[in-house]
């Protein structure tokens, strides 16, 4: 693990961007069910999932949303914390899909040290015009 990266508000500019990508495995989904308590059948029951449109289990939406956090830290450093967020789920993540997160700084408030970041998550093979997986807006506060 690298050392702690502390950013000051002056280190962050509108237009800064960062990426993170991860393949979502069955282990991830089962661990996430354990952590969150969300054992909905379309996440954990393969026989049920085979009866759905996807013919596969799908990842929890908030598991996908969790992949956004590394991008927030890349943009705002380790001394930041999420003050508020709005997330819209547009499409499903199937087991073994690879999710790519892109975050871009759209607003920097020097007075209250809050950074606004717009986020889009896509899956492998995504091309311009395809439906994204997740769209989000995050307010990241620099607390250190």
């Amino acid at each position: 693990m690298n050392g702690v990266v502390i950013k000051q508000i002056g280190d962050i500019s509108i237009g800064d961007s960062a990426y993170f990508a991860k393949t979502v495995t069955e282990a991830d989904v089962m661990m996430f069910a354990m952590l969150s308590g969300d054992y909905a059948s379309h996440h954990v029951d393969e026989s049920f999932a085979q009866t759905t449109l996807f013919k596969s289990r799908i990842a929890h939406g908030m598991l996908t949303a969790g992949l956004i956090c590394p991008v927030l830290r890349l943009l705002c450093g380790d001394g930041s914390t999420t003050r508020s967020q709005e997330i819209a789920f547009k499409s499903a993540v199937l087991l073994n899909d690879t999710v790519t997160v892109k975050g871009e700084v759209t607003e920097v408030s020097e007075d209250d040290k809050v950074v606004t970041i717009e986020v889009v998550c896509t899956k492998q093979g995504h091309v311009e015009g395809d439906r994204p997986l997740v769209l989000g807006t995050f307010k990241q506060a620099l607390v250190v």
């Binding site: 449109l53 996807f54 939406g61 967020q85 709005e86």
Partner: protein, 147 residues
């Protein structure tokens, strides 16, 4: 592990219905979540660093707490419900080994859209509010928005 399968039926739900998911968020939970999400924030992973910045111990990832809303929502809604959107605001930090109670309460039901808006609250043992938010869930079968 699937509990059981129920047919989505918005008629069985009413405003004010609620469910609670209570959990002690262990340091192990925090570590496992870091592995699943890729978020190895030092404030969550390293007690020394957390102490250095004035915290009594490791923080719980806010997104892990937000995720536990799913545990309450799963107990509230019929099987097959899907997340449309979620928004959250964190009011105070939660630390590893804290016990939190996530309460999901139906705020409104849109019968035309087959959508339900749910208020999410996360309480600490002293009954103070650590986070609050809204979740919009759909009971309509749609390949596009299933999450």
């Amino acid at each position: 592990m699937s509990h059981h399968t129920r047919t989505p039926d918005i008629a069985t739900l009413k405003v004010g219905d609620y469910a609670i998911f209570k959990k002690t968020v262990s340091p192990t939970d925090v570590m496992i979540y870091a592995g699943a999400s890729g978020d190895f924030s030092p404030l969550c992973m390293d007690t020394t660093i957390a102490n250095h910045f004035g915290h009594r111990t490791n923080l719980v990832h806010p997104m892990l707490l937000f995720s536990m809303a799913g545990g309450a929502i799963h107990r509230l809604l019929p099987e097959g419900s899907r997340t449309i959107s979620r928004s959250f605001e964190q009011l105070q930090h939660v630390y590893a080994s804290d016990t939190v109670s996530i309460v999901a309460t139906i705020e409104s039901i849109d019968h035309k859209k087959n959508e339900i808006t749910i208020v999410i609250q996360c309480f600490l043992p002293d009954e103070s509010l650590a986070l609050k938010g809204l979740a919009v869930e759909s009971l309509s079968v749609s390949k596009e928005n299933l999450a």
